[in-house]
């Protein structure tokens, strides 16, 4: 792909804050990924664009006005609402503490994803990424799982309503993409597909195969719940069994990918146990599928990823390289390792190759169970789809 076809939306402010000291969600990952790509020669300054600001009204296409007003009030040092009021909406909790300039910063994350969608929807870019985005757990009037506003849902809503597009959302984060799913559960013009560690084991506890969409949107919500310790091969097998078929059948104009990096085996919150090899293959397949079904139109966001320093920057560098058609060297640039290693006081990996997780003797049983889940899911979906032919 020639230069100028992919855009990297970046706002340094969105990497320069913390939700709380020691909080597992670390926005600095975003800046680490950008500088890694620059150092590796896989990103040009000319490809980097700032987000266009949005208004509070843009948030209201998805969020409740009283909720937005509450987040704004909580963000100002004076007149902070009571903890009881905030906690009714998931704020002032361990996962979603109130932090300085919360409204402004999270609205900035939304603006960056909206910008990425606008660039691709208008043809100004073929593909675009906002690695600060991917806040897939935020609900209409509730913060959840480190997410205050749902940038993905605001951007998808805009792609549907303003640009008149059919949108397929594919979520490969280790956690179920519940916020996006429920916000479009009745919307036949949006397909949501989520592959994740089963809700039987992992937050948020949803994303079962029977969650298939409501009314006219029945069949437009697809969930592939996977076993802990799934690993690369079984993950890719289930991906191939479900995602291409769902995308081809739905025939979207745009694909939005939530590329949370917490399916990696070193992630402290989840246990899907993939390596960078498997994750890279998933990113590449999503780009190939976009070429096939949307003429290449693809927007990619970040998301989860709690081995924040060692794993996430490399994973997202691979995602961008796939999206922009760039090559990464085998070695992680020494200048980048030394600079960030010193700043963070950690030893960063030297290569894009990965240490393999300890093999589990249960691997064949896990793969067999995953296969059976994917097969039964597809059978169930084909029945629903045959009742309601694609629009």
């Amino acid at each position: 792909m020639s230069a100028g076809e992919a855009r990297f939306v970046f706002d340094p402010e969105l990497a320069g804050f913390q939700l709380a000291p020691e909080h597992p969600f670390k926005p600095v990952r975003y800046e680490m990924a950008r500088t890694l790509l620059l150092a590796a020669g896989a990103l040009d300054e000319a490809e980097v664009v700032p987000p266009r600001p949005i208004t509070d009204d843009d948030l209201l296409t998805v969020h409740d006005p009283r909720y937005v007003a509450l987040v704004k009030a909580a963000s100002s040092p004076s007149a902070r609402p009571s903890d009881a009021e905030l906690q009714r909406h998931g704020l002032a909790t361990a996962d979603n503490p109130v932090f300085p300039r919360m409204h402004h910063l999270v609205k900035g994350v939304v603006a960056a994803t909206v910008t990425a969608v606008d660039l691709v929807a208008t043809g100004a870019a073929r593909r675009a990424a906002n690695l600060a985005g991917g806040l897939h757990h935020a609900m209409r009037d509730r913060a959840s799982g480190f997410c205050v506003y749902n940038d993905l849902a605001v951007a998808i809503r805009r792609a549907v309503d303003r640009h008149g597009l059919r949108v397929a959302y594919v979520d490969v984060d280790a956690h179920h993409g519940d916020g996006v799913q429920w916000l479009f559960y009745d919307e036949p013009r949006v397909l949501t597909v989520s592959l994740h560690e089963s809700g039987r084991y992992l937050f948020p506890g949803t994303g079962f195969t029977y969650e298939t969409g409501n009314g006219r949107a029945r069949g437009s919500s697809v969930n592939v719940p996977l076993e802990p310790f799934t690993g690369d091969d079984s993950f890719l097998e289930c991906f191939e069994a479900v995602v291409p078929r769902a995308l081809r059948r739905f025939a979207p104009d745009l694909i939005v990918v939530q590329a949370g990096a917490d399916m990696h085996h070193r992630d402290p919150l989840a246990d899907l146990s993939l390596t960078l090899r498997g994750m890279r293959r998933a990113y590449e397949r999503l780009v190939e599928l976009a070429d096939e079904v949307t003429g290449g139109r693809l927007v990619l966001t970040g998301g989860g990823g709690y081995d924040a320093y060692r794993t996430v920057p490399r994973a997202w560098a691979l995602a961008w390289a796939a999206l922009a058609g760039r090559e990464l060297p085998d070695e992680v640039p020494a200048s980048w390792r030394e600079e960030w290693g010193r700043r963070l006081g950690v030893d960063l990996p030297a290569t894009f190759a990965d240490d393999e997780p300890e093999p589990t003797p249960r691997a064949p049983a896990i793969a067999s169970r995953n296969r059976s889940v994917a097969e039964r899911l597809l059978k169930q979906l084909e029945e629903i789809w045959s009742e309601a032919p694609a629009a």
């Binding site: 597992p24 002032a92 937050f203 506890g205």
Partner: protein
Amino acid sequence: MLVSEVMTRQVVAIGPDTPIRDVQALMEQRNVRHFPILEGRAEPDKPDGLVGIVSDRDVRLVGADHPRAPKGVKATDPVSLLMVRDVITAHPDDPIEETAKTMRLKKIGAMPVMEDGRLVGIVTATDLLDALVRMSGVHQAASRLEVEVANRPGALAELLNLIADRRINVVSVMTTRGDDETISFVLRVATADARGLARHLKEAGINVTWPPDKRG
């Protein structure tokens, strides 16, 4: 949780003279598997005459060419020929665990709910399963946490206080097993970082059985 919170209030009741084939058709149309049978018309200030109950298993095979079809009963016969006359009923204020126990003991799938002699609802095994899902708190985004605490006053309170100190909401609490020494609880906690919480609880001396430590 009480029967009145989980029961179906719109009960489809039939009379004892209703032909069996009409009952079969009604089951199909209404997607209902149990019909209470009332004698006479319902009148204000008079008790409903509950005389029986019939289930899909009782009527399904009537008129069919099947070895287990009831002998000597035709689809045109009144349902009173097949109905169970000794009806086991529930009261709206019964706790649902009592209702569940009764259903298992008597091997039945539904109980008419009677209050002051009136039929006010029906409670089925499906209603109880729905209640179980609601009690387990899976309708709210949360993580699963399993702990074993000492079987003594205050042990659970100490655990809940430790969780509250972390500003984490508890969405549901269920007990799965208990003996003289310890009780196991399954909690649903509104955090994506259940391992972080588990670490904190273990440091405070709580025996956490889920989530397990990260491997490797």
